[in-house]
Amino acid sequence: MSDHVRVLLIDDETVFLDSMSKVLRARGYQVGVARSGTAGLEELALHEYDVVVLDQRMPGMDGVTTLDHIRESHPILPVIMLSGHAQMATAVAAMNHGAVDYLLKPALVDKLCERLQTAMEKKSLLEHLPR
């Protein structure tokens, strides 16, 4: 299921990016990384991805603003929001801005992969719908 699924991780935490991309690659995902919201948007403009995993709190452009930009440029690209700061307000904001899911760090890999799969199913169905 994960073969050839392209995941973009956007997070300013290098440790998280390194460890998560390693784990996801080991499970067959194709992983791209970006260390800021701006870098993430640039990466999305250059390459095609199936799902984005986006950190909520980043210096510069924060996660919710990045999410808004992604929604404009890639309306059906699923975005899963991650946060290391457990706050109800940010969870609600993320979902109001169109995140398909909101997970708290440390995201258990199995759970994240399950969410990636669900997001992929959704994207796949949306792509095959008549337009």
């Binding site: 290391g84 700061h85 457990a86 979902m95 398909v100 708290l104 760090k105 949306l126 095959h128």
Partner: protein, 882 residues
């Protein structure tokens, strides 16, 4: 309406029109399906979190604020996600849910906000000890407050010094934005992850020690230090000790935080940071977690006191903690600083002293003082060997012991409760008190223990000092404090060379503790008493005598360690129940959180309160949404409208004309006018259809019915005010919305409405089958009996059943894929087999017999019982247009 026309309607002659589905409606159905999947996933995850919270409420497991925040946000996330999903499914029909949710969110945020209220006025960073007493605890922490109380109220000797305040701590954290960072670090750890605890501890401590002090704080500390110089020399050495709020109070925190000894001016700032960082030592994190204390509730003050040039040091307990009724107190001491005897690395001299009269020394025991700890010129302390002649000599004279005993009694009298004291004797042979805190003593009525003696069949292996009463038995596990204590097995007996407060990390799991060296007045003994772990200390050679893996019984009443498991001792000296977090601060917060999250009050959809405003908790919101979402899904096929794109007709012999709407991978073939069963890729739909097509159903044959039953059905349908609706439904097409792992099928044939919504895949946690049945053409009694029958059959198939009049709701969740498909097959058979049962289910019908008949494959329910008469042969559509 004439009876003939009615009969034709009833038994299904219909002129089938082509059915078409618009692109828009197909899109809408697909999105609804995806939305519904999201909703049920969140519902499941929410209920799992609630179940976890309810387990924690039982009090058996420790947890911290990180757990509470994590789970609360998890609950809010899933609840809000369900609200958004229901908005999409219902075209925003339940907007009030947003208001209700926002109100609950606000309540939870208030509960979880543990921000310490700022001190009124300008923050004060430093307090000289001369200005501190027990009323200052909230401003300077427990240890400083006690030191100030002894100095200023009792006028007893305490070293000069100053307290670095709680405001200073807040300023330090704020200056470096440490609070949020540490909170985020803690969120990364699950409560039962002891390996993660070490990692979090290390990261938090590194972050603190590498941070800068606010310049004003550093200056204030150095200025306070400089004020000691006129009295104590140009560069006095100080001890920098933890003084957290709550420390040395009801809970001892004995040895959990760091003290840095023999610090000069240049090292003062770093020593302060080291002490603050010890707030996050693994053992301190564990200790707070077990005692249910939120980290944010215990900010760290620091006590700086001039070093005592100590000849000897040690501890004292104002009562024997294991014999609180005895009028005795305990003193222990060793050469040099108190690190050795109090920390547990030196076997100290001990004395038992009468509290009455002239402080008679009842017993004295010479310790094994082979090392001593002393300050060194370059700063810090070092351990060095004790000369042989000194080892053989008590570190205090009897006069000293009596003098110290008097000081101890004074302190106890002042505080009106037993006290635990640390002391030092300086070179001028003056006692100086270093700290005092409440002493935890044995609870309950216990007889005076007899000295350890031989027991038949069990060798007495060792004796030592009984430090924490009770009796425990288990397999010997030798450990050093530097070992990976996370691997310590539950129920084992810890055998170790030195006592150490580090062993707090295994105290929840250990059956007992035995050490070579250690004092009943030391830190670990205090902790063992707090945790209720039987402990025998100072046995001299437990690590030699007690073999790894052997079973021993530790009787910490008598101080004996026995070979094997001594049931008699275990029965009579059993340990009191281990600590529970019930009643602790963190448990109270959890209870408040749970009151907003967990209660389910909204149980009955018929109740007028079953509405958004009636929701009292997240659980209620989820229950409401779940119910309404299924209603929306059961209406799904109603939304198919005529337009441009054809639905696919199922070309199979069935009592219903079934149209399939594929919303993603449900059919093997490209859209075509009609398909066969083998063209259906949707596993749940295939299973359902296989059941409906089961040859044993013989639905195409005339069905025997009783005369009375037939008349009851016919009369009821003619008289019923709702009959018009039933007749409109007669012969309606049935629609199935299918995806690869999903089906949503509803049929309205005759007066019956049956709907199935199911997801079946290899992912067991997401699997469910939801079945709803309503109606019938008979009177209320017959309809209710049919529902009773259907409910009973589905109950035998593991479904959870809700019945309400002639409505049956049945749900099955999280079974493996194959089991789900098997249940769907049974539902298919049930839908068809029970279609005409109204006519047979008269009063007194043996429902149990019908249930057994169905489950045994007797779908015609033969023998039927009393006299029957054949009904007119139905003209069921065979799934083809005619």
């Amino acid at each position: 309406m004439g009876a003939g026309r009615w009969m034709r309607r009833l038994f299904g002659r219909d002129r089938w029109r082509p059915v078409e589905v618009t692109k828009d409606s197909r899109t809408s159905l697909s999105l609804d399906y995806l939305t519904f999947k999201d909703l049920t996933t969140s519902n499941d995850e929410l209920l799992e979190i609630i179940a976890d919270i309810e387990r924690k409420l039982e009090g058996g497991t420790a947890f911290g604020m990180a757990y509470l925040r994590n789970r609360t946000v998890g609950c809010a996330t899933h609840t809000y996600r369900m609200i958004i999903c229901l908005d999409k499914l219902s075209s925003r029909r339940y907007q009030e849910l947003h208001v209700v949710f926002a109100s609950m969110q606000k309540r939870l945020e208030a509960i979880l906000d543990r921000t310490q209220p700022a001190s009124p006025g300008t923050p004060r960073l430093i307090y000289p000890l001369s200005e501190v007493d027990s009323s200052s605890a909230a401003r300077v922490g427990g240890k400083s407050a006690n030191a100030g109380e002894i100095r200023n109220r009792l006028r007893l000797p305490i070293p000069d010094g100053f307290a670095v305040s709680i405001d200073a701590f807040a300023a330090f954290l704020g200056h470096n934005q440490l609070a949020g960072e540490i909170r985020a670090l803690q969120l990364k750890r699950e409560p039962d992850d002891s390996g993660g605890l070490n990692e979090i501890s290390q990261q938090a401590q590194e972050r603190i020690t590498s941070s800068e002090l606010p310049p004003a704080l550093a200056e204030a500390m150095l200025a306070a230090y400089d004020e000691l110089c006129p009295t104590h020399g140009s560069e006095p050495r100080v001890s920098v000790r933890s003084s957290a709020v709550g420390e040395d109070g009801e809970m001892s925190f004995a040895g959990q935080y760091t003290s840095v000894l023999n610090v000069g001016r240049a090292g003062l700032v770093d020593a302060y940071k080291e002490v603050v960082a010890s707030l996050y030592s693994p053992q301190a994190l564990f200790y707070r977690s077990v005692h249910g204390i939120p980290d944010e509730d215990l900010p760290m003050g620091v006590l700086c006191m001039t070093m005592v040039d100590a000849v000897a040091s040690g501890g004292a307990c104002s009562v024997d903690p294991n014999r609180p009724a005895a009028e005795t107190l305990l003193v222990s001491g060793a050469w040099g600083l108190g690190v050795g005897p109090v920390g547990g690395t030196v076997s100290p001299d001990t004395w038992v002293v009468s509290k009455t009269g002239a402080r008679e020394i009842l017993t004295s025991r010479l310790g094994w003082k082979d090392t001593r700890v002393d300050p060194v010129d370059e700063g810090g302390v070092a351990s060095m060997a004790v000369q042989a002649s000194e080892r053989q000599r008590f570190c205090l004279s009897e006069a000293h012991v009596r003098e110290l005993a008097s000081l101890v009694v004074m302190i106890e009298s002042h505080y009106h409760c037993p006290q635990e004291i640390e002391w030092a004797l300086d070179r001028q042979e003056r006692f100086v008190l270093l700290q005092a805190r409440p002493l935890r003593t044995a609870v309950g009525e216990r007889t005076e223990p007899a000295p350890a003696s031989q027991i038949d069949g069990h060798r007495l292996l060792l004796t030592g000092a009984a430090a924490s009463r009770g009796c425990g038995s288990g397999v010997v596990r030798r450990c050093a404090e530097s070992d990976d204590l996370a691997a310590f097995p539950a129920g084992a007996v810890l055998v170790t060379r030195h006592s150490s407060p580090q062993f707090v990390k295994i105290m929840e799991r250990a059956a007992a503790i035995v050490t070579d060296i250690g004092a009943t007045t030391g830190h670990m003994a205090s902790l063992a008493r707090e945790f209720g772990v039987p402990a025998v200390l100072d046995t001299r050679d437990a690590t030699v005598v007690l073999a790894e893996g052997s079973v021993v019984t530790v009787d910490a009443d008598s101080g004996g360690v026995y070979e094997g498991r001594v049931e008699r001792l275990l029965a009579s000296n059993a340990v009191a129940e281990r600590k529970s977090v019930v009643g602790t601060p963190i448990h109270s917060i959890l209870r408040e959180v749970a009151s907003v999250v967990a209660p389910l009050t909204l149980t009955d959809p018929r109740n007028p309160e079953f509405r958004p405003r009636g929701c009292r908790s997240f659980h209620d919101i989820a229950r409401f949404i779940h119910e309404k979402a299924f209603e929306e899904m059961f209406r799904m096929s109603d939304r198919v409208t005529s337009a441009t794109q054809k639905a696919t007709r199922l070309d199979e012999r069935l009592p219903y004309l079934v149209y399939l709407i594929d919303i993603g991978g449900g059919l093997r073939r490209a859209p075509s006018p009609c398909v066969r069963l083998e063209d259906i890729r949707s596993e749940p739909m295939s299973a359902l259809l296989r059941g409906m097509m089961h040859p044993g159903l013989r639905w195409w044959e005339p069905r025997p019915i009783s005369v009375s039953g037939f008349l009851a059905v016919a009369t009821e349908s003619m008289l019923s005010p709702g009959g018009g609706d039933g007749q409109r439904r007669l012969g309606d097409r049935s629609y199935a919305i299918v995806a690869e792992s999903y089906c949503n099928f509803s049929s309205r044939v005759g007066y019956h409405f049956a709907a199935v919504d199911a997801h079946c895949s290899e992912s067991r946690s997401r699997n469910y089958v939801s079945f709803r049945f309503k109606g019938g053409a008979a009177d209320d009694g017959r309809r209710a009996r049919r529902c009773e029958l259907i409910g009973a059959i589905l109950g035998r198939l593991d479904f959870q059943i809700e019945r309400n009049g002639d409505l049956v709701n049945a749900r099955l969740r999280k079974f493996p894929r194959d089991a789900m498909l098997q249940r769907l097959d049974q539902i298919g058979r049930l839908i068809v087999a029970t279609r005409q049962l109204d006519m047979r289910l008269g009063p007194g019908t043996p429902i149990a017999w019908y249930v057994d008949a169905f489950l045994e494959g007797n779908y015609l329910f033969e023998p039927p019982g009393p006299q029957v008469q054949s009904a007119p042969a139905p003209e069921w559509p065979a799934g083809k247009e005619r």
